[in-house]
């Protein structure tokens, strides 16, 4: 047979197949955020390479070695390269490298010097005569532009070797780095309206190494895998240090304002995570199989603490309770799944599971220096850290009943019990039922319909429990509160959730298909409370695909989504106790996000261009891709008579992309491709538009505008096909 394969179809084939392309593109104008997708955002020309090659041994060689390479945008800012090499049936190595930039803003402005570093300074002639931005007399002349961006580089190696007919070993390694300049916010002060802040172009210098090792036994009746996975994060910067740009505030300590005041923020500490994993399955009978997953893990970090404050002028009498946190979270997970087909028409899947996040981090009292601005707190005012733990138990049963090969009913039930500590609610229990129907009764129509209802109930919601537990014992009365007593946090609150899904595919002709999908979700929370009261999602998608010939296809889709959240609250001042009980200070917000997306894709191959009597010797493939996406955010506010209210402007984003391409085949192996891409992006956001660095009195902003760009990208590629 092998000989037959070689003789019949294999001898003429080149063991190396695929394509290599060399391209040159030109961008008509600077378009900063366009680079996120395209890998180029500066006006001018840029070359790049692309590869897609694979090697298979000749069928009659008896060899099993193979390799596969895929590379895209090699030479641009968004390259990705993948290599797989191995011997089929015995071992393989995969290498995956990619660079992922994120260009956020190129028009941010700041007076700070040292963008992207851990230490900032103000210009030597910086003037700040008051505790607001109005007192920064030479702000405008000190502002300069900074780019906010990041680039992730990821290299992953994955080696798998078959150790015998039933054994396999897998080893993987990955290194990720993230570098760039990001937005941080530096606040000074913390109480009674004395906070001042400025946005910082902070550093990004992350590095993560992760590695895994697993051994698998792949028997006929029993299979299992044992493995270890470790991940190690390190941050190149331990903290950020910046000078206070505001003049002294009367409530701040001496020497906190400009020119002497300094501030320091801790950046993300180095950390580690380890996991031991075991999974297995066992065939109990021909139609029943048991699956098991068990994971034990630990997350830890023990970076040395920064001092309470960097301002030596402030009084600090009590030492830190610990040199470092010695934080440790033990995680565990156990899942059992029984899959069975007791009757030819019935499929059953039962799961029970348990997961646990057991935070063993020690608790201590921290006598803070708030916002590097006031003397250290007294012991009675210290804060206790809260090491959150959580345990979750789950059980579910899914069943499918086949009335026929074309019609089946699905039903399911699930139960989740979650226990938390240091939380307003200690236990939540959620029951869910699901019913679905799938039908292909008609040859040309496939239908799927499902409905799901979930009901979450909780034990008593004690809103001030975290408040009490973070303060020194005896310092907070049982009636005191931080959040309003009528607040119910949505992720801890009782909730009724309903979901409806409908999906239909219609194939009126063999070349034509039409699809529609509708989804409706609604979450209801208890009435009479503040917080999220109701959320609703409505989504509709329609698509059409037409393929009149093998070398001609058209497809299009339209999608419309609406997300709506209704929430409420009461505005109250701690200095006016009656506020908390005054319904005239109630407010409601209804935020609705509308999305609309349209896409079109057309491909026509093997065209034979001709003009009069002239006919091209090669054929042409043409394609057209259009995408339009827009969102509109409406935020409607209502307020009681004691509050001031005014309508908010709408938010908006709009993306239009059009790509036209033509490939001319010079020969069977080589071709030229010309592509023109035009992309327009616009957004409007009241938080940025017409907001200058000093628009706010107490926060010095970057003053950048909402992103918008227009980009025209023209490229010419030569491709050789092996």
């Amino acid at each position: 047979l092998a000989q037959g394969a070689g003789q019949a179809g294999g001898q003429a084939a080149n063991p190396v197949a695929g394509t290599v392309s060399a391209s040159l593109g030109h961008l008509n104008d600077d378009a900063y955020q366009y680079g996120n997708q395209a890998g180029v955002n500066e006006q001018g020309a840029a070359p790049w390479l692309a590869l897609n090659l694979r090697y298979r041994p000749a069928p009659d060689s008896g060899d099993t070695a193979y390799w596969r390479i895929e590379g895209e945008r090699l030479g641009l800012e968004t390259p990705r390269f993948f290599l797989e090499v191995g011997q089929q049936g015995s071992q393989r190595l995969r290498v995956d490298f990619r660079e992922i930039p994120r260009y956020r803003f190129d028009d941010a402005r700041t007076p700070l010097q040292g963008a992207g570093t851990a230490v900032f300074t103000l210009p030597q002639n910086w003037q700040a005569t008051g505790a607001t931005t109005a007192g920064m007399s030479n702000l405008q002349e000190s502002l300069h532009e900074v780019n906010l961006w990041q680039k992730r580089r990821s290299l992953e190696l994955d080696y798998r070797r078959t150790l015998g007919p039933q054994w396999a070993l897998d080893v993987d390694f990955r290194r990720d780095t993230v570098q760039g300049t990001r937005t941080l916010a530096g606040a000074t002060g913390a109480t009674g309206g004395n906070v001042r802040a400025l946005l910082l172009p902070g550093p990004l210098d992350y590095e993560t190494h992760s590695a895994g090792l697993s051994l698998a036994y792949l028997g006929d009746a029993m299979r299992w895998t044992l493995g270890y996975h470790g991940s190690f994060f390190s941050n190149g910067d331990r903290s950020v240090l910046w000078p206070t740009p505001f003049g002294a505030h009367p409530q701040w300590g001496a020497g906190v304002g400009h020119p002497d005041g300094l501030n320091r923020m801790a950046l993300e500490p180095d950390n580690q995570a380890h996991q031991l994993r075991a999974s297995g399955s066992y065939t109990i009978t021909r139609r029943t199989r048991l699956y098991l997953d068990a994971v034990l893990g630990r997350q830890s970090q023990d970076e040395q603490f920064l001092p309470y404050t960097v301002n030596s002028q402030l009084a600090v009498t009590a030492a830190l309770p610990r040199e470092s946190l010695n934080a440790r979270v033990n995680t565990s997970r156990l899942d059992l799944r029984l899959s069975s087909r007791p009757l030819s028409r019935l499929n059953l899947s039962t799961r029970i599971g348990y997961r646990d996040r057991d935070n063993r981090t020690p608790i201590a009292a921290y006598q803070r220096v708030r916002g590097d601005a006031v003397d250290q707190q007294a012991f009675a005012d210290a804060r206790l850290n809260r090491p959150y733990s959580l345990a979750e138990a789950r059980a579910s049963l899914e069943a499918t009943w086949r009335f026929s090969s074309r019609l089946r009913l699905e039903a399911g039930y699930e139960f989740t019990d979650t226990d938390r500590d240091y939380s307003e609610v200690e236990t939540t229990r959620e029951h869910g039922v699901r019913l679905g129907l799938r039908s292909t009764q008609l040859d040309t129509l496939a239908l799927a319909l499902s409905y799901q209802h979930q009901r979450r109930r909780t034990d008593d919601y004690i809103g001030n429990r975290p408040y009490i537990q973070t303060h020194m014992p005896g310092t907070i009365d049982a009636e005191d509160f931080e959040n309003h007593p009528l607040l119910r946090k949505y992720y801890l609150s009782e909730r009724d959730r309903d979901q409806l899904r409908l999906h239909a595919d219609w194939y009126p002709l063999s070349q034509l298909s039409l699809g529609a999908a509708l989804a409706w979700n609604r979450d209801d929370y208890p009435t009479g409370y503040f917080g999220l009261n109701k959320s609703q999602v409505l989504s509709a998608t329609f698509d059409v695909s037409y393929t009149p010939a093998e070398d001609f296809s058209v497809s299009a889709f339209y999608s419309r989504d609406r997300y709506r959240n209704d929430q409420s609250g009461r505005s109250f001042r701690g200095s006016v106790p009656a506020d908390a009980f005054n319904p005239g200070r109630n407010w409601q917000v209804s935020a609705t996000d509308h999305f609309e997306t349209v896409g079109l894709n057309l491909e026509r191959e093997q065209l034979q261009p001709r003009l009069g009597d002239w006919q091209a010797s090669g054929s042409v493939d043409v394609s057209l891709q259009l995408a339009h996406s827009r969102s509109r955010g409406e935020i409607a506010t209502e307020a009681g008579p004691a509050l001031t209210n005014a309508p908010l402007p709408d938010l908006g984003t709009r993306l239009n992309t059009a790509t036209m391409a033509a490939r001319y085949h010079l020969s069977a192996q080589s071709s030229l491709r010309f592509a023109l891409e035009r992309e327009l992006y616009r957004s409007s956001d009241f938080a940025f538009d017409n907001v200058e660095p000093d628009t706010l009195a107490n926060v010095l902003l970057f003053g950048q505008d909402s992103p918008r760009y227009k980009a025209t990208w023209v490229s010419l590629s030569y491709r050789y096909q092996y």
Partner: protein, 294 residues
């Protein structure tokens, strides 16, 4: 050695074509209208691998297509199908049994009971075997393949804030296991947070001052595929924050147009609103950072 041994007891009795693949290639060889010979030049044609369908002792095309001698003739003017055809005419479970007889190790532990298996999506619903290249193995094409069905996600990744899926720098399979995974939504990690923290390791902590929903569930605030709000936030801040924070003074303020120029200028709604001060919203390790400002 027979790949299909055990797939169907009936097949053992059935009639195989002797001269496979030569006989098959008479109609399905190079240049024929129903050419299928490319499969011999792809992964399935590596005959040095004893498990290959075309290796010595295997059954060639019938290794997957089953006993097909009837397919050589005509019955009432119609050519009977091969033993197994990989389209809607054959139940998905029967088609998949053929693939799984060799590839169960690779599909892994979670296929049975997975979303795709439960929805009767067969292997060949995503994978193409006869052409030399399978789109599911190409990082440039896999997203297109997934969003062909997951159309809501196709629309979401065009939103202003999204993971870099449009360009193929990230693929759906970076987070989701199409053959089934241990986590919710067939994630490759055991929990949603583990999945997110696999890349966003800096947010793993544990921090001295944790933000409770961060430690529990990233999706309390973020949505994974696309959002019009920065940072893939599920809703607009400060309103998202105010769904859980309603303390005296600024956390409970009504933020409205009265705080937007030209009517006013509120610290809590312009710029980065809450995170203009509370920048360490994922957790702080500063001993004075309990308010997540340090």
């Amino acid at each position: 050695l027979l790949i299909l041994a055990g797939v169907s007891a009936a097949w053992a009795q059935a009639d195989y074509v002797d001269d496979d693949p030569r006989m098959c290639l008479v109609c399905h060889g190079p240049g024929t209208p129903l050419a299928a010979d490319d499969i011999m030049h792809g992964a399935h044609g590596v005959v040095g691998n004893a498990d290959s369908p075309f290796a010595t002792g295997q059954l060639g095309c019938q290794s997957c297509h089953g006993p097909s001698s009837e397919h050589l003739g005509m019955v009432d003017g119609v050519r009977p199908l091969p033993g197994v055809v990989f389209d809607q005419r054959q139940p998905a479970a029967e088609r998949d049994a053929v693939c799984l007889s060799c590839h169960e190790d690779e599909t892994g532990h979670y296929w049975v009971g997975s979303a795709h298996e439960f929805a009767d999506l067969s292997c060949t619903g995503c994978h193409t075997l006869h052409p030399l290249a399978d789109a599911m193995l190409s990082f440039q094409q896999v997203n297109e393949q997934c969003t062909d069905c997951h159309q809501r996600q196709r629309a979401e990744i065009l939103q202003a804030s999204s993971h870099p899926l449009r360009s193929g720098q990230m693929t759906c399979t970076d987070c989701h296991a199409p053959h089934g995974g241990p986590g919710p939504a067939e994630l490759t990690a055991f929990t949603l947070n583990e999945q997110c923290l696999d890349c966003h390791t800096e947010k793993r902590g544990p921090f001295l001052w944790e933000h409770a929903p961060v430690a529990e569930d990233c999706s309390s605030c973020h949505t994974p595929h696309g959002s019009p709000h920065r940072g893939l936030m599920a809703a607009r801040t400060p309103f998202l924050c105010q769904q859980c924070h309603l303390a005296a003074f600024h956390p409970s303020n009504l933020e409205s147009g009265a705080g937007v120029p030209p009517q006013g200028a509120s610290n809590n709604i312009l710029g980065r609103d809450c995170t203009s001060c509370h920048t360490q919203v994922h957790g702080s390790n500063h001993p004075s950072g309990s308010g997540l400002t340090r």
